[in-house]
């Protein structure tokens, strides 16, 4: 038996927008003031190959 909530387009925009905003706030909260900390793992070097 279905028990799904009806999700309107406006609500879709709302949840997506809220996730983007919260992730941005999370980055500020958890990373912006601590960028001078050492990284536990150094970011891998990602080499992109291509031709001009």
């Amino acid at each position: 038996q279905s028990m799904s909530l009806f999700v309107s387009p406006a609500q879709t925009a709302a949840w997506r927008k809220q996730i983007f905003e919260q992730l941005s706030e999370r980055s500020k909260r958890e990373m912006d003031n601590f960028r001078h900390y050492e990284q536990a793992i150094e970011q891998s070097v990602w080499v992109k190959k291509g031709s001009m």
């Binding site: 279905s2 009806f6 999370r26 958890e30 900390y37 050492e38 793992i41």
Partner: protein, 277 residues
């Protein structure tokens, strides 16, 4: 508005600032300074704390060193859960940096699995991937993978590759297939933190209802842990946290599984008491 791929990037590049201090009863040759580190949310504690171990070993006598383990406010931290999940579950409403205590003695065998080497973490990680694939795709993806594909996937996580990069480097598109939206069930694990105990509930959940409507986070909670759904009076007893954020209950489970699953392919959800103020 940002692209959905930005969400994946934020999730995979999430870092938690941590301050490691040595347990007061550990015997040292001189004072142990705290050690500060940015921990990747999607990795595992014992995989990314070599620097911490080396730092504290400098002040300890070799005879006083046994297996390292970590604790937060009296709770041993289970290395086999991702770091972000541990933080959300135990420390999400506390001041940063996250204060973690380091132990080299009295390993709590009843609470933690031993982790003598990274190969144990690798085995655990690959076993989680296989379990998720069995539930989502009936094992169709992992069964096709060769040993070198497994290694490549593991090395990707170990070296901090993000989701996009794994898609690019994996031969045969295995990673793309693993996280593909064409799955029958979402693998959601709800970790519930209450004052009395800390159970977890693993739940297979269809992303779409029988009549074709997308199931939402609210639907999942109603079925598995209804107390986490705010009552009609708007009172919120619990926070429902994934990767440090509280998605709205209208968020479709399908989208959450695709974008907020951990690298082990499980959607780990922390349910914690709402702050009282």
């Amino acid at each position: 508005m940002a692209d959905d791929k930005d969400v994946l990037r934020d999730v995979w590049f999430g870092r938690i600032p941590a301050c490691f201090t040595l347990y007061q009863d550990e015997i040292t040759e001189r004072e142990a300074e705290p050690f500060y580190l940015l921990l990747p949310r999607v990795s595992y504690l014992t995989l990314v704390t070599d620097k911490v171990k080396k730092h504290f070993l400098k002040v300890m006598k070799p005879d006083d060193v046994e297996e390292i383990w970590f604790e937060y406010e009296g709770t041993p931290l289970k290395w086999h859960y991702p770091i972000g999940l541990l933080f959300d579950l135990y420390a999400s409403n506390t001041a940063l940096p996250w204060s973690i205590t380091v132990h080299f003695k009295n390993f709590p065998q009843q609470d933690l699995l031993h982790c003598p080497s990274n190969s144990v973490i690798e085995a655990h990680f690959m076993s989680s991937i296989k379990e998720a694939d069995a539930l989502k795709h009936k094992g169709a993806v992992v069964n096709e993978m060769q040993k070198k594909d497994h290694k490549q996937l593991w090395m990707g996580l170990q070296n901090g590759l993000c989701c996009d990069e794994l898609c690019l480097v994996q031969r045969g598109g295995f990673w793309t297939a693993l996280i593909s939206s064409l799955f029958r069930h979402s693998c959601a694990t709800l970790f519930i933190s209450t004052t009395s105990n800390r159970p977890f509930i693993q739940k297979l959940f269809r992303p779409v209802s029988l009549d074709g409507h997308p199931h939402t986070l609210g639907d999942l909670l109603k079925e598995v842990f209804p107390a986490a759904v705010p009552q009609n009076d708007g009172q919120k007893k619990y926070q429902v946290v994934i990767h440090g954020i509280e998605p709205m209950l209208e968020t479709p489970i399908q989208w959450l599984s695709e974008h907020l699953s951990y690298p082990d392919n499980f959607l780990h959800i922390s349910i914690i008491p709402a702050p009282s103020d």
